[in-house]
Structures are given as structure tokens and as C-alpha cells.
Amino acid sequence: MDVLRRNNVTVSGDPAGQPMLFAHGFGCDQNMWRFVAAPFQATHRVVVFDYVGFGESDHAAWDAERYASLRGYADDVLEICRELDLSDVIFVGHSVSSMIGVLAANADPERFAKLVLVGPSPRYIDDDGYVGGFTREDITGLLESLESNYLGWSSTMAPVIVGNPDRPELGEELTNSFCRTDPEIAAHFARVTFLSDNREDLESVRIPTLVLQCSDDAIAPRSVGEYVHERVRDSELVLMRATGHCPNLSAPDETIAAIRAFVETG
């Protein structure tokens, strides 16, 4: 099995630089990092990839059993690191990838130098005093949203095409062409993501960690970011002016500055 092909791994930047591995969150693919990853190419070895079932990954490699928990996705991250022989890695994970990064770093702490968690949540569902922001019914509603949308998309989804940002004239044809994925895989990933509970894994993190928390994030509220900061021993919490859950798209400059400041210290 070719891991690099499987996960559509793209390597750029300075081959001698410290590796930065950017991992996308639920709902999209490596395109999520298009604004943020590029500026680090001058100083770092930049690696982006798609999880199996997303973007240009090998959808045939998807396996319900392997990906029944976030652990399977963390295994993919570790396999990519091994395949590229990466060490001293700065892992930058968005959304659910924050916890995937935590799992990967806990499983193989030697390989990772730092963690950057953008909009992390170790548990989305409210639970016995813990406020994750969602009820179980909310998640069921999300799965319904996915289902009704994919029905609308299915006929135009057939050939998976990647949009070309340099040719906006293609925009019309390529409606919703980013973030395309197999509906079943997406629903499965949604279930795994939003039902996951990684609160206990936070305390095992031993490497410097940056928590990037947006204002007004509907998916990972501020209290959750603070919770992560409290539980991860050597962590730093940066509250961003950016709103929403995707500062990597909505506020790339602020995101880049925060990551750069963290990466360049110590």
C-alpha cells in the first residue's frame, strides 16, 4: 500500500526545514490549508494530505473497521510520518484533526515537537457537567443535513474534480467541487467525530501545544478551548479575533501570525 498515494500527500517548502504537517478537519480536504500553509514553505518542510475518503485520497482504501474511531485516522498520520521519515514534526490540526494529532502524538511522542490545535474539541456532546455545545439530537440533525445535501449533490459529484484557484472562470462549472466526498464516508466520519470523547487523552500530551480559539465558534465554543488549555499541561491559549470555526479560511493572516509566533519560540 502506498501511503502517500492513499492520503494524497503533498510535500513542499524547504526540504531541510523542520516539518510542518497540516491536517484538515471534518467537511473538507487539504484545500482548507491553502492560505495558511503556503507562507511556511520558505522556512519549513510543508506536508498536507487528505484523510481517506476525502478530497483526492484513495477512496477504495477506506475501511469501516479501521476508521471506526479517531485512532484509525491517527494511524494514518503516523504512517505518513514514517513514510516520509519525518521527525521533530509540528502538527497543525484543524477541528477534529486536533484530537487526531493528540492521539498521534501520544502514540509516538518521539516524532512530534509541537502541536497546534485550531478549534479543538475533545467532546462535542454535553456530558454530566461538561459543556461541549451539542446534544445527541443535534448530531442526529447534522447527519440528516448531510444526507439531504448529498442527495442534491450526487449527480454532479460523479467525477471528482479539483477546482483550480488560478482559473476562477471554472467556478461556475465546479460548484461545490471542493470538499466532495463519498456520502457514506462523510456520514461515518461525522458520527465518529461528533460522538468521540478524547478528554482523557489531553492529559497525556507532553509536548508544547498551542490552542487557537476563535471568537464565537459554533462548533468549539470558547469554554471548550479553555478546557483543552487547562488539561494539556504545556499549552498556550490564543483567543483570536476571527469568528467562526475556520480561521484558516476566514482569517488566514491572524492564523498565520499566531502559528508563526508559537513555532518560532523555544
Binding site: 473538507c28 447534522l142 445535501n149 467556478g171 460548484t175 461545490n176 462548533i219 476566514s250
Partner: protein, 558 residues
């Protein structure tokens, strides 16, 4: 605008830009990149029941359901930012009165002179009917998929039940099928005890991490309401969190904060035998297909359990019988030691017809016999018992091994079940050291003389019992056992393997025997059985007998 256009507009009342916007047949909404609504048309206000003041300053995503908000953050907003536009996104708006309005949304992102996002324009189409239709399509597709999977699952269940050899395996199969199909959080199978007034858990499946942790225990008294369910013959569905205090007793079998349950009575020959309790953490209803599926599973389970019960009853009777038939005290003589063991097949419910026997026929002669009656079950065990007694009686009359076999040929003519049985008979004169032996269609005995490799005794062979009656006399062979020698008799279950020839297996047995010549008899037998059958589930019974000769004066005794 030309004069002609102006004239035209005038002719059509109220078709001004403002009215086009406010009363368009779709909702219009403009928002800042962060979602703050800055403009909204009257159509959307009417559809949602909000006033303009209520919406201005609120964010578009605040109008969505929680699931929709996640979708907005993870799909809609990223797509809009990357593509500059999104089309035909299905979302639900929450109206002022809390009801939902299914909509399709198109948005475009306007950028400022620097290419930075400045404004999002969104049109909203009422998709109530379209969504209903789509939901029906999805439901139809799901139903079809479920029906297909259900049929396959029932077929698999049926096959698994047929292959199951005991209640445990059956329970596992039923429990697994129900849990998979209905996405149940717990499935418990409980059977009525002999007195029919208590239900005892025999199998449990629990979804999630603690599935393995909890043993299947728990028993409850059958009260009047449970009795009604058991006798009702139909599943009792406790859906959508109904308290149903009627069947509160089942919590003794299935504790937990379950919001919905299905109680499936199990019956055999019209009599209740037990119950399956299928439990769900979330409230839910059960559609007709699901009910039919549960009934089908319960019916299959009932039949299989009844079958298993009969088998197990017969098996236990047969085992008792066999044990009593094989129980006998080995000869007590300082010149000889005997150990024997019998291991029933793992993969079969029924006992087999293997036997072993050792006895003194006079002060100096010990006879050892190992035999194998064709077939399984009580009848085979009974035939074995009769054959064993006959062998003992014939050998006791001082007949040599070959003569014993010849008389058995006559005996089995009246005992059809014992025809084609095989046997190895050996008689050792402890004083003269002379060993006489004969085999009727049986694998060759092995002998290990001190200081020599093990040898298979291929002489003295003839056909299985009841085959050669009236044919040539049965042959026997002789050899002298030296003090310290060992004689091994066994049935084919020890050496017969699909993946190895009998010769190879006997060669291997010889090697193993020679290698363990220093081992005591008891450990030797268990080591041999382990070496030959330990790696795979035995599909045949194994009988093994080992005799150690200590010489005419018992001097070779260790």
C-alpha cells in the same frame, strides 16, 4: 432606461426594484462575511415569522438548526470562501415559532477592491415539498437497503444457527443479528428454568466498549405481566420511552437507562421457553419490517434452542452412559502399569463410539483393548458398551486376540450398530514376556522397547468386525516385550488428519513416543494428545491407552 422601457414599466403596476426585492418569490438576505445579517426581504420575514428588527444584527447561522450550524461551519462557509459561491445547499431554518422551514440556499461572496470578502448575498428557496419528496426517496432507498440486508442477515442467522453446537453459540448468533440489524444498544437472551417461573440470562450483547466486560448473568421471577408476554406469542414493543411499568421486571435482566425496548417471547411446541430483550438508549418506534424481522429472529431462535435442548439432553445422557461404560479399575499388578484417556470431539454434540479396556484374564495375562464403533450418539455408545463387554467375556475365556476378534465377528451379526467397528486387542503374558496382538481394521499398535526407536506393529492385521465372517481365520502376531517396554494403543482420532497421510502421522507418533520415553505415563498421554490435537479443534473422539511392562518380577519399575 429608454422611454419605451419606462412606458412598459409604467404599464405593469408595482414592478419597481424595491418591490421586486421585497416581495420576490424567494427569500433574500445579505450578510457580512461573519454572518451578521444586514439586509433581508419581506418574503423571508413572512416565511420565518421574524420582524426585520429581530433579524438585523443576528447571524445567518443563528437561524439554522444545530445540525445545520455544524454543516454551515464545516461545509457552507469553507466552500463559499474557497469558491466564491455555493449552490443548492439544503438547510433548515428555524422560524420564530420554533417550527422548521426546509430551504435550499444559494450564496455569492462579494469581495472588496483588495479581494477580501465584503458581503454575502443569499437567496433562500422554500423547499418544503421538495424536501418531503427527497426524504421519501431517501426513506425508500433506506427501506430497500434495509430489506435486502435483513434478508441476508436472516439467511446468515439461519446458517449460523444450523452450525451452532450449543446454546451459547446459538445465543451469540441471535444476539448478534438483532444487535446489528436494529442497532440495538443491548440484546439479552433469557431462558425459562425447569420450573418455568424464572428467567435466567444465557447471552448478552452490549454495544460499545464494555461489551466484553459484563458476564451474562441475571435472573428474574416471572410475574403475571411477563407471563402474559411469554404466552402472547407476539413481540411487546415499548417504544418512545413509554414507562410500561407492566414489564418493569425485565430491568432485572437488562439494567440501564434504556428508552425503548422490544420483548420477544420464545416458544417451542407452543410452550414458552424464554425471551429476548432488545434495548435502545434512545426512544424509537419500530416499523413493520423491523417487527417482522424480530419475529423471524425469535422464531428461528426458538427452534434452534429447542433443537439444542434436545441435543444437549441426549448428549448428557450419552456422556453419562459412556463414562459409566468406560469406568473400570485398571489391573493392579506390580509388573504392569496402564494409563488410558478418552477425549470427546470438540466440534460435535454427540458422544462417539471409541472405547478402551484393560483387565487381567488370569494371574499372569493382561489384556488391553482399544476399539472404535462407527457412528455417534447414544446408539453408538450403547453398541460400544455391548462390544466392550463381549470382548471382555471372550478374552476371559482364554481365547487369544485373533480368536477374540473372530468371535466378535459372529457377535456383531446380531448387533448391526457394531458392524464395521475396528479394534486392536493385545494380550501380554507378564511371566513369559510374550505379547500377542491382532488388529481388526484398526491403526497399528506402537511398541517402544528400551533403547530402541518406537515401532509400529503392522502384523496380525485383518478386516473390521463383521466383514470377514466365514472368510479366512483372523491372524495374530507375537513379539517379546523387554522389561521397561511400552505398548500404545489408540484410535484414529489421534492420528487422522486431512493434511497428513496416516503413515506420516504414525511415523510422527513413533517419534514423539521415543522422544518421551523417560516421561511418566500420565503426563505422556496428555502431552501426546496436546501434540497431536492441540492446535485444532478435534473433530473426532480420541482414545489412547499406554501399557508399561516392568518385567516378570517387576524389577524394571522405576
Amino acid at each position: 432606461m429608454t422611454d419605451a422601457d419606462a412606458e412598459h414599466v409604467k404599464a405593469v403596476p408595482d414592478e419597481r426594484a424595491e418591490d421586486l426585492y421585497e416581495n420576490a418569490p424567494c427569500g433574500y438576505l445579505s450578510a457580512l462575511p461573519g454572518g451578521d445579517i444586514v439586509r433581508v426581504n419581506r418574503t423571508l420575514l413572512t416565511w420565518t415569522g421574524y420582524t426585520r428588527e429581530e433579524l438585523l444584527g443576528r447571524r445567518f447561522q443563528d437561524l439554522l438548526t444545530a445540525g445545520g450550524r455544524i454543516y454551515h461551519e464545516t461545509h457552507y462557509a469553507p466552500l463559499l470562501r474557497m469558491q466564491g459561491a455555493v449552490r443548492e445547499i439544503a438547510l433548515d431554518l428555524v422560524r420564530a415559532d420554533g417550527s422548521r422551514l426546509p430551504v435550499l440556499v444559494n450564496s455569492v461572496l462579494r469581495t472588496d477592491d483588495d479581494g477580501q470578502p465584503a458581503l454575502v448575498r443569499t437567496t433562500v428557496f422554500d423547499a418544503t415539498h421538495r424536501r418531503q419528496y427527497e426524504r421519501e426517496l431517501v426513506r425508500a432507498r433506506n427501506r430497500e437497503t434495509a430489506a435486502r440486508e435483513r434478508t441476508e442477515r436472516l439467511q446468515r442467522l439461519s446458517a449460523a444457527l444450523a452450525a451452532a453446537v450449543d446454546t451459547e453459540q446459538m445465543t451469540d448468533a441471535v444476539v448478534g443479528a438483532l444487535a446489528d440489524d436494529l442497532r440495538a444498544d443491548e440484546v439479552v437472551v433469557a431462558l425459562l428454568d425447569a420450573g418455568r417461573d424464572r428467567l435466567q440470562t444465557v447471552g448478552r450483547h452490549r454495544a460499545g466498549a464494555d461489551a466484553e466486560a459484563e458476564p451474562a448473568t441475571g435472573a428474574i421471577d416471572v410475574d403475571a405481566s411477563l407471563q402474559r408476554v411469554l404466552r402472547g406469542g407476539r413481540p411487546l414493543l415499548v417504544a418512545n420511552g413509554d414507562a410500561h411499568s407492566d414489564v418493569a421486571a425485565v430491568t432485572g435482566l437488562s439494567a440501564g437507562a434504556f428508552a425503548a425496548r422490544a420483548l420477544l417471547p420464545l416458544a417451542a411446541r407452543g410452550e414458552p421457553v424464554g425471551m429476548v430483550v432488545v434495548s435502545f438508549l434512545e426512544p424509537r418506534a419500530f416499523d413493520e419490517e423491523e417487527q417482522l424481522f424480530m419475529e423471524a429472529c425469535a422464531a428461528q431462535c426458538s427452534q434452534a434452542l429447542e433443537r439444542a435442548r434436545l441435543y444437549e439432553h441426549e448428549r448428557s445422557v450419552a456422556h453419562t452412559l459412556q463414562k459409566s461404560l468406560l469406568a473400570s479399575r485398571p489391573p493392579q499388578d506390580p509388573r504392569v502399569d496402564v494409563e488410558a484417556c478418552y477425549l470427546p470431539a470438540v466440534q460435535s454434540l454427540e458422544v462417539g463410539g471409541d472405547w478402551h479396556d484393560t483387565f487381567m484374564v488370569d494371574d499372569d495375562t493382561v489384556v488391553a483393548v482399544v476399539g472404535d464403533v462407527v457412528g455417534r450418539g447414544i446408539e453408538a455408545a450403547t453398541a460400544m458398551g455391548q462390544l466392550r463387554s463381549a470382548t471382555r467375556a471372550l478374552a476371559g475365556a482364554q481365547l487369544g486376540p485373533a480368536e477374540v476378534l473372530r468371535h466378535l465377528d459372529g457377535f456383531v451379526q446380531h448387533l448391526p450398530r457394531a458392524r464395521f467397528a475396528t479394534a486392536a486387542v493385545a494380550a501380554l503374558d507378564l511371566r513369559t514376556r510374550r505379547l500377542r496382538y491382532a488388529c481388526a481394521g484398526h491403526p497399528p499398535p506402537l511398541v517402544v522397547q528400551p533403547g530402541e526407536p518406537a515401532t509400529a506393529l503392522w502384523d496380525g492385521r485383518s478386516a473390521p468386525l463383521g466383514v470377514s465372517r466365514g472368510g479366512p481365520p483372523r491372524p495374530h502376531a507375537e513379539l517379546e516385550l523387554r522389561p521397561g517396554a511400552r505398548l500404545v494403543l489408540y484410535t484414529d482420532g489421534l492420528v487422522e488428519r486431512r493434511d497428513a497421510s496416516l503413515d506420516d502421522a504414525i511415523g510422527r507418533l513413533s517419534d514423539e513416543l521415543a522422544r518421551r520415553r523417560a516421561a511418566a505415563l500420565g503426563p505422556l498421554l496428555s502431552e501426546l494428545v496436546q501434540a497431536f490435537t492441540g492446535d485444532a479443534a478435534r473433530d473426532d473422539d480420541v482414545c489412547l491407552l499406554c501399557l508399561e511392562y516392568h518385567g516378570p518380577d517387576g524389577a524394571a519399575r522405576a
